[in-house]
Every structure is written in structure tokens, then in C-alpha cells.
Symmetry: C2
Subunit: 353 residues, 2 copies
């Protein structure tokens, strides 16, 4: 299951802990670089860290994106910007937040505008990193979802992610790709970032949800040089790893990624037809290549909610994300004939609106 180029793993009990500990791995890596690779701490480091002060506890920041969701514990919440109800009344940190591309659909009709959107967002990322570096809040890492899920199934191009990786390399910031929601197969590959053709692996990839247990894969230099710096009573849950092993066996035995791609084709084509027939109700159909990780918008949030409600009356459970998006998250065993049943029910709902 390990993403190509990432040979090290650390397991954790949930998605938030996975990101929290991956963030720590980034800070430790960044600080070790600043120490010129030395693993020795000064007495000032030791004394100051015990009372939450620099230099022991440096004022590092992480760059995240508007619309992002990376979890609900304090560090994760500082990088989460999808809905006010998640963040309200919880203390946070002044960390840089960049715009994530918001594309116009269909993509083939808006190539130039969307390229321009990539350019604007990437420019802001680099500006913010320089700004926070000079503010004394060095940006140790860039934290990004391969598809902003909770925030509205917002996609960005492979070019965007390739350039993001380059910006990280130029500015000395690590690239963390949060695959908590996207990992495990629903995009038609085990890891969504495999679709991006990155010239090398991202530095850290976090996972949970479909993977049954949480954790992260990372490059060797993101393993802390001392023990007990990243640690937890249970370090994940071995019983969940055993269950995951069997899930992986079934994914391979039943060729479930092929099934996801075949079902995704049926779903996407059927939805494209419905989008053309009902432009007064739905638009902005989008997905990642041939997977079932597909979404479309209602023309308004109320319209989206009405579609979800009426589908439920038809016995179909779907979910909302962002302001007006309906997201599909079928299991890996969802097959073409299930897709046809869903499309039939959705057609009934759209016709009746």
C-alpha cells in the first residue's frame, strides 16, 4: 500500500492524530535542517521548550488552503478552513492560508481561465511563504488535500500539485498530502496523488478512514533522529492493521480498483447526460479520472439539499460538502449495475423537482 518512494510508516488511531503527528515530523525535520543536521539540543533549547517558548518551541507555521479540512484537534484545526462550525470558539494560530483553485466546469471549455486560476493560487502560495518566513513564522510545510473533500470536492490539476511541490523545494517547506479521505482506492488508484505524476514522492502522506487505521507514510529524513518524539500509548491499533491486511487481500483478489474505474465510467457518463438534461438543477460535474470519487453542484445550496433529501426518500444515501455540492462516496464494491440504479433514482428526483 505504501505510496511509491515512501518507505517509512507510523500508525496512529485516527485521522486527526495522523496529521498532528505528521506535522510534528515536519517541524522536527525543519529544525534539524536549521541545526545543520546536528541532533544535539542546546541547554537553551531544553529549558525554553519546557515552558512553551522559543527556541525550544519555535514559532513555525504550516501553509494551508481556504476550504481545507485536516481534522479537529488544535494543530489540525489551524489548517482547517471548510466550515465555521468546526472552528468556532477554538483558539488558533496565525498561519498562512492560500486560495485553493476553484475551477469552472466543464474543464475542457475553461482551459485558459483554469490555468490562470492555478497561476494565481500558486503565486499566492509563494508570496505567503516568503511573507511568513520574514515575519518570524517560518513555513515548515505545505499541507494540502489532493481533492478538497469536506470543502466541496474542489479539484486541482496535476500541474498545480507539481508546481506546489516545486515551491516547497524552493522555499524549504515540506509537502504533506492529506489522503485521509481520498486514500484507499475510491479515485481508482490507492492514492489520489498517483494521478498527479509528481517527479518525486511527496514528503509525507497521511491516511485514515478507508484504511481502517490512521497514520502516515514518509521519506526517511522525516523520521525523528531520537526515540519517543513521535509516540502514542497504542501507536495505532494492531487489530485494525490485521483487518486492513485482509481488506487489501480482497481489493487485489476481486480487482476492486478495476471495478471502481469501470463503475466510475458508468457513473460519470450517466451524470454527464443528466447534467445536460437538467442544467436548471445541477452543474459542475467533476471527478478524478475514472474513479467513483465524483461530485456535482446543485444550482443553489437549497437545491442540493432538496436533491439529497429526495434521494434519501428513494433509499439512496448521498452527502453534501462545501456550500452546494453533492458528493458520491460509494464503497469499492459498488458496481456498474448499482450505478445504473442510482442514476435511475437520480433521474426520477431531478424530473420531479
Amino acid at each position: 500500500m505504501a505510496p511509491k518512494g515512501l518507505k517509512h510508516i507510523c500508525t496512529m488511531a485516527c485521522g486527526s492524530c495522523s496529521n498532528e503527528n505528521a506535522f510534528k515530523a515536519i517541524y522536527i525535520w525543519y529544525r534539524t535542517k536549521e541545526r545543520g543536521g546536528s541532533v544535539d539540543f542546546t541547554q537553551e533549547d531544553i529549558d525554553s521548550c519546557m515552558v512553551n517558548q522559543a527556541p525550544g518551541c519555535p514559532s513555525y507555521s504550516l501553509l494551508s488552503f481556504h476550504g481545507a479540512f485536516h481534522g479537529r484537534t488544535m494543530g489540525c484545526l489551524a489548517t482547517t478552513h471548510s466550515k465555521p462550525i468546526h472552528k468556532m470558539d477554538i483558539p488558533s494560530l496565525d498561519w498562512p492560508i492560500a486560495r485553493f483553485p476553484l475551477y469552472k466546469y466543464p474543464l475542457e471549455e475553461h482551459v485558459r481561465e483554469n490555468q490562470e486560476e492555478d497561476r494565481r493560487c500558486l503565486e499566492q502560495v509563494e508570496e505567503l511563504i516568503h511573507k511568513y518566513n520574514s515575519l518570524g513564522k517560518p513555513v515548515a510545510g505545505i499541507v494540502v488535500e489532493p481533492i478538497q473533500s469536506e470543502g466541496g470536492d474542489n479539484h486541482a490539476s496535476p500541474h498545480f500539485f507539481q508546481q506546489l511541490q516545486q515551491i516547497g523545494k524552493r522555499t524549504g517547506a515540506a509537502l504533506l498530502i492529506d489522503e485521509v479521505q481520498t486514500g484507499g482506492g475510491p479515485t481508482g488508484k490507492i492514492w489520489c496523488h498517483e494521478h498527479f505524476d509528481l517527479p518525486e514522492a511527496p514528503d509525507i502522506v497521511t491516511f485514515s478512514k478507508k484504511m481502517l487505521t490512521g497514520g502516515y507514510f514518509c521519506k526517511e529524513e522525516f523520521r525523528p533522529p531520537q526515540g519517543y518524539r513521535i509516540y502514542n500509548t497504542w501507536m495505532g491499533d494492531p487489530s485494525k492493521v490485521l483487518m486492513l491486511k485482509e481488506v487489501v487481500n480482497v481489493i487485489n483478489r476481486d480487482r476492486l480498483l478495476d471495478n471502481v474505474n469501470e463503475t466510475g465510467d458508468v457513473l460519470y457518463k450517466g451524470l454527464a447526460t443528466l447534467e445536460q438534461r437538467f442544467p436548471q438543477h445541477i452543474d459542475s460535474l467533476r471527478g478524478r479520472n475514472r474513479g467513483t470519487y465524483i461530485a456535482f453542484d446543485g444550482n443553489t445550496g437549497a437545491k442540493r439539499d432538496a436533491i439529497i433529501g429526495k434521494l434519501k426518500q428513494q433509499g439512496v444515501h448521498t452527502g453534501g460538502c462545501g456550500d452546494k455540492t453533492l458528493r458520491l462516496r460509494p464503497a469499492l464494491i459498488f458496481q456498474p449495475h448499482h450505478a445504473h440504479i442510482f442514476l435511475d433514482k437520480l433521474e426520477t428526483v431531478l424530473t420531479g423537482l
Copy 2:
């Protein structure tokens, strides 16, 4: 299992997440008080929280204690001050940190000094709360272990905890008792804070470890007024709750708390004899009433480490905490005859030093 007076529960997957989410419950409670009980957010709240700024993300703080351990995620780490290796290189927050009592042992020979120690520490708690309130970092809660475990098995008196609760009431700060390590029976009661005779329940009690799953018990007013403010994909793990149910059945069926108290008596008396015989090696024997949650110090850290190492050669696994403390953490099924075997091996080790 619910502590007296705490009828509400929220389950989480690990100890850090338990504390992180209990902290959130405190912030939300504190802010709701500031809003005069209103559950409406202003547009300014909504807009500012999405970019990590006040008033939506207020600059609340939590008061914690030197020597404390409350976990390893960002919010928890800001209240953890037990060892530099846990905190080094991880960004933190300027939150108030008070002294936790460090008693002289045996307690009966140092009554007046230890009362004075309580008074000094409590005075600092109240001073720090007033200071941070006036600095614009209002102290929303006091976070404390009933026994500082990782920090060295540091005990404080029932009087100290009773007064801490009163300070919280006077200053409007919630009292969170972190029973992640102490909860589940090893002190001879299910919850260590039951030993403190508090006039009313603490506001929140967190748990994990021996409880098999994580979470917190709380008063009704610490339930957020809206849904999805404290939430997690799995909200703990139902399979662990089923296992815990059976653990509780066995604790009751086999009267394991009685066993802990009987075994604790044997252990403590035997250790008191060894402490008198070997004052050149060990001192400061301490425990909570009759439980097995007992510790003593080596005269130096090196002496403590030598004792742990030689016990291991005898087939006995013990642990270190703090600078020079050896802590005992037997399972609830550790019986008087096991205690005698342990005492015999320890006598051999101390004799051979």
C-alpha cells in the same frame, strides 16, 4: 463507570484526542458564557474563525502545571511539561504554567512544609489566572492530573484539589481532571479524584489506557449547544466499548478493586520496610491511600535506572518517570502473593547494589 455527578460522555480513540476534545468543550462553554448563554454567532465570529483570528478563534489559554503530561498533539503538548524530548521543536502557545506541589516524604514528618507547599502553588495558580486574564489570554480552564504520572508520580493533597476547584469557581475557569493514566482502578477506586472528597464533581474527566478506549465524562453544560462541533469519523471505537463492558464485568465479579487495595497494602508496607533498611538507595515512598499506584525515588537518576535494570534481570518489569522515580503499575489482577515475589526480588536487588 461514570464519575459521580458527570452524566455525559464522549468517546474518542486515544488519550491525546480525549484531552484535545475536552479542551474544545471547555472553550465552547467559556465562550457561550461570554455570549450570555446565546448560541448565535455574529457575522464577525463566522468570518474571523475561518482565518484563525479572533473573535471567532479567541485567544483563550489553559492553565497547566510544571511536570504535567496531557498528551502529544498540539493542544495537549501546550499543557505538557514533563520531558524536553516530548516538546522539542514543536510550536506551542504562551499559556500559564504553575508549580505542582512537590512534597517531602514521609508525609507525616513534613506536614507543615507540605501545607506551605500547597499554599504557595495555589497562590501561584490564582496569580497566573489573573495575570493571563488581564493579558488578553483568558484562562478558560485548569488542566491537572490527580497524580502527575509521567512527571514523576507527584502527589498533591485532597486539600490542594479542593482549593483548585474553588479557584476555578472564583475565576470562571473549568476544572479538567486528566485520568488517562490514573483512571480504571489502580488507585483502589475507579477514579483517582474520588480520593479528594471534592464538594462537587470536576467539570470534565478524561480517560484512556486502562479504559481501553478514550473519551471524557462531563457536566451537561459542557455539551456544545450545536452538533458537529466535537466530532470524529469514528467517535471512538464501539468494539473497544464492548471489550470495556466485559472488563467492568470482571472487575465487579472478581472484586478487583478490593484486590487492588489488599495488594496495595502488602506492597506499601513491604516497601516501607525496604525504604527503612536501604535509605542509601531509595526514599520518598508514596502512593494514594491503599492502591497499587505506588512509587519511590532512587537517591539519584542513575541509582533508579540501576534498580530498574537489575529488576529486569530478575524478570520484573518496572518503569521510570520524572528524574529519579521508579513507578509501579501492576494490572488489577496483581495479587498479594505477586507483591511478595516482587518485594523479594527488590530486596535482592537493593542488597546487591
